[in-house]
């Protein structure tokens, strides 16, 4: 059999997705528990009106939990999906294409999610359709 050269070592390749998947999983646990606590236990019996929801969303803690949950869910989900999609692919160009697509989809999803919160935070939506 003919010998070929050693495939080029790609240094840190693969390390960051592995590490960040575990970091985001840990953060996800915190944000999901915080979300469930806020939604089901912090305001038991309170009347839900536009005003009360607005007051709540204008507080930094709620914005932090909502935005953090959104960012972590999107990253964790899309990083996992990327792993599935490139599982049987050995073509570096295909891997790069999938990674780029996941980043575009992730940033778009984040922007869309923050757009929902933006009227409460800034008085007007980020994107006007």
């Amino acid at each position: 059999m003919a010998a070929s050269s050693h495939p080029p070592a790609s240094g840190h390749a693969g390390a960051w997705p592995w590490l960040l998947q575990r970091v985001s999983a840990t953060l996800l646990l915190f944000f999901v528990l915080a979300h469930l606590w806020i939604e089901h236990f912090m305001h038991v019996g309170a009347r839900i009106t536009y005003r009360t929801v607005l007051d709540r969303l204008l507080q930094g803690f709620y914005v932090f939990v909502d935005a953090g949950l959104l960012a972590v869910v999107v990253f964790h989900g899309l990083n996992g999906l990327r792993n599935v999609l490139v599982e049987n692919t050995e073509n570096p160009a295909a891997v790069r294409a999938v990674t780029t697509a996941m980043w575009v989809l992730g940033v778009a999803t984040l922007a869309f999610g923050m757009d929902v919160l933006s009227p409460f935070l800034f008085g007007h939506p980020w994107f006007r359709l």
């Binding site: 059999m1 003919a2 050693h6 070592a9 390749a13 693969g14 390390a15 599982e87 050995e90």
Partner: protein
């Protein structure tokens, strides 16, 4: 001699056969007989052309790994009575994920190349005399590494790993557990040299922790746990800014050339 058991063996001689086929041999076996003893009876009494690897017959040399009734095992450690109840017969195939050579013999070349790629030996920072630097391994460290040192190179983990099946470039569980054995040895300073082949999309990060290697290892080595610890060490090295020490490339066969 005891009762006859049917051995169904995958036969293939690339010089003669167009494709693999099944051959069946009734073999007289006694209680306690191993699959390897049955194979030897076939070769001695029925068909001398049957090819398989074997040497020590006692689970030490790791030569006689093969797929027995659907799972990769050592033929010398597997009793006929323990597997015959599965299908009423003993079904033998060559190890998976390696190219067939003949009958139950596979080409081990990619396995050994990947093993060598992780530089599986102690690399002290600079060679010194024993007086300057005693190479003593403390008992606690020895206990931690001793299971990983038990590997007999039988290729059973390599055969059972589904990632080796879909990605011929993946180092495989055996190379990674050997890397673990030296990376965690306090006498070793070879982390930078091993960093590039290990922290790589075809290295430790390709492992999907299916535990097939741990389940199938005839020596009971906790391979998956070792690989996970190796990953954590690599993350520490990544965050500490380790720069890989690139070394002279070792010629290896490309995945296409070694695929079956």
């Amino acid at each position: 001699m005891g009762s006859d058991v049917l051995f169904q063996v995958m036969r293939y001689d690339p010089r003669r056969d167009v494709e693999p086929y099944w051959a069946e041999y009734p073999v007289a076996v006694d209680d306690g007989d191993t699959v390897l003893m049955g194979l030897m009876r076939i070769r001695e009494d029925i068909d001398g052309s049957l090819a398989f690897r074997a040497s020590c017959r006692s689970g030490i040399c790791g030569s006689d790994g093969m797929v027995i009734n659907g799972r990769s095992r050592l033929a010398c450690k597997t009793q006929v009575a323990a597997v015959v109840s599965d299908r009423g017969r003993v079904v033998l195939e060559p190890l998976r994920n390696l190219r067939y050579v003949k009958d139950l013999v596979v080409d081990q070349t990619p396995f050994w190349q990947k093993f060598r790629r992780v530089e599986p030996y102690l690399m002290p920072e600079e060679p010194r005399s024993a007086a300057e630097r005693p190479m003593v391994l403390p008992q606690a460290e020895f206990d931690r590494l001793s299971k990983a040192s038990d590997c007999i190179f039988c290729e059973i983990c390599y055969s059972e790993c589904p990632i080796n099946g879909v990605d011929r470039g993946f180092l495989g569980p055996q190379a990674l557990i050997k890397a673990f054995r030296f990376e965690f040895d306090p006498r070793d300073d070879g982390a930078a040299a091993r960093y590039a082949p290990l922290s790589n999309v075809e290295g430790a990060w390709r492992c999907r922790t299916t535990f097939n290697c741990t389940d199938s290892c005839p020596k009971g080595i906790p391979i998956t746990e070792g690989i996970q610890r190796l990953k954590r060490k690599l993350v520490g090295e990544l965050l500490s800014g380790m720069q890989p020490a690139y070394r002279t490339p070792m010629p290896v066969e490309s995945p296409e050339e070694t695929s079956s």
